[in-house]
């Protein structure tokens, strides 16, 4: 049986970061389903340059003309069926490391060979406090998923993604709120459930695409000609 592959990326540059903890919790959640294979990539100590908009994308072998640690990320993103991206909050939104990853994805999601289409994604953001912009970061990551033709999931206990609150010691232990419907909510639990949700949707989608090939149904070239 084909295994469903779930990728977790944490863009925190800190050792033992809260974001990494939550992304790993999400992968643990994904692993509770049968036939799931996970991979975790931290962006810590990775050398990844920003996109320079040289417009030479689709270079053979390396995708991008810049030869850096992004090659590993490209391969992982293409390998995955579903993904969970986690970012710490810097200045009310996602950090530059995550944004660079998103921007460098251009060669693998252009119209001539979109390698990210029909995957499933979920987002995690961890800030220093409660209103530090977790929603903006999550929205930006969701936009990335939607733009490249992936499906976005979320909605664990009514949230769009998982928003964590960090403390200085590198553990998310103070992040418990009480909800009338769900009781005590911990961000680790939410991350665990998000991972499970992403894995579930990926699994269902992969099963469906065994019967229906999405590329047959949605062909950009044929799509518009049918209109007339």
């Amino acid at each position: 049986m084909e295994r469903i592959r779930i990728l977790g990326i944490s863009s925190s540059p800190r050792a033992g970061s809260n974001t990494t903890i939550l992304v790993k919790w999400a992968l643990k959640g994904a692993m509770t389903l049968e036939g799931i294979e996970t991979k975790f990539i931290p962006l810590r100590k990775k050398l990844i340059f920003p996109c320079v908009d040289c417009d030479c994308c689709n270079v053979e072998g390396t995708y991008c003309v810049q030869k850096d640690d992004m090659q590993e990320i490209y391969n992982a993103l293409i390998w995955a069926d579903g993904m969970i991206l986690g970012t710490p909050i810097y200045y009310q939104t996602l950090n530059a490391q995550m944004k660079i990853i998103i921007e460098r994805c251009r060669p693998i999601c252009r119209k001539s060979g979109n390698l990210l289409r029909y995957k499933v994604g979920g987002a995690i953001a961890v800030g220093g406090g409660r209103n530090h912009g977790q929603e903006y970061a999550i929205s930006t990551i969701h936009d990335f998923f939607n733009i490249v033709g992936m499906a976005t999931v979320g909605g664990v206990r009514g949230d769009v993604g998982v928003a964590g609150v960090a403390n200085a010691e590198g553990v998310i232990r103070e992040d418990v709120i009480h909800s009338e419907i769900y009781g005590d909510i911990k961000s680790e639990e939410n991350a665990f459930l998000l991972g499970k949700l992403v894995a579930t949707c990926t699994k269902v989608f992969r099963k469906g695409s065994l019967i229906v090939n999405p590329d047959d149904l949605y062909d950009m070239k044929k799509a518009l000609s049918k209109q007339k």
Partner: protein, 225 residues
């Protein structure tokens, strides 16, 4: 043969509105996929009252909400649909109140978990280029995601479909831009493609659900141990 049900809702209050045109274009796109049936609902002329949050009595039997108005028809359509496309005109840089009222009244369905695992797309039409179409699309997509639905978009690099209206009630002519990768882009074509994309995702997801039920795999109340 699986029957795929796609619902389009336009929250515009105008006759022959641009939003309705685009939502209908999206439904036309969805109809090109085999096995798709579509339904279009306009919020024009509907009597839908805002949610009275303090009452907290939902879900009520049969009518879902204690307020008996035209929302009952919308509830049934939302439950009926496998995939949906919501279109809103842009008022004051974001979605209009009619669409927001409709979303807020969906609380009983959220509590009954009736909207889970549906596939969605968003459309926003403003009077100009930077009138807040993205904010409206975000608001609609966040509604979907927080109800545990799947959001799709990505037609020619946009999160949803943003239209620019003209006074003559037609999106024609004025809303065409030249794109580096895709050439001439018109909002109607984008809406058509979005509808097709939503229908495709819905079809594939529904095929998968017939083999493994996502509700069996995922339950939010499960203990992590």
């Amino acid at each position: 043969m699986i029957c795929i049900k796609i619902l389009g809702i336009s929250s515009s209050l105008r006759v022959g509105s641009n939003t309705s045109i685009l939502v209908n274009d999206a439904l036309k796109g969805a109809s090109t996929i085999d096995g798709v049936v579509t339904k279009f609902i306009s919020l024009r002329g509907k009597d839908i009252k805002p949610c009275v949050v303090d009452c907290d009595r939902c879900p009520v039997e049969e009518t879902y909400c204690v307020q008996k108005d035209d929302m009952q028809e919308i509830y049934e359509a939302l439950i009926w649909a496998d995939g949906m496309i919501l279109g809103t005109p842009v008022y004051s840089q974001t979605l209009n109140a009619q669409m927001k009222i409709m979303m807020e009244r969906c609380k009983p369905l959220e509590r009954l978990e009736l909207l889970r695992f549906k596939i969605n797309g968003a459309i926003a039409v403003g009077a100009g280029r930077n009138q807040g179409q993205e904010y409206a699309i975000h608001a609609i997509q966040n509604f979907f995601i927080s109800n545990m639905m799947l959001t799709v978009g990505g037609v020619r690099g946009a999160v949803g479909v943003s239209g620019v209206a003209s006074q003559e009630n037609t999106i024609h002519n004025k809303d065409i831009i030249q794109h580096g990768d895709f050439g001439r882009i018109s909002a109607e074509e984008n809406a058509f493609l979005l509808g097709k994309f939503v229908a495709t995702w819905t079809k594939v997801f529904k095929e998968g659900s017939s083999i493994i039920d996502p509700n069996n795999l995922f339950s939010g109340n499960e203990n992590q141990d």
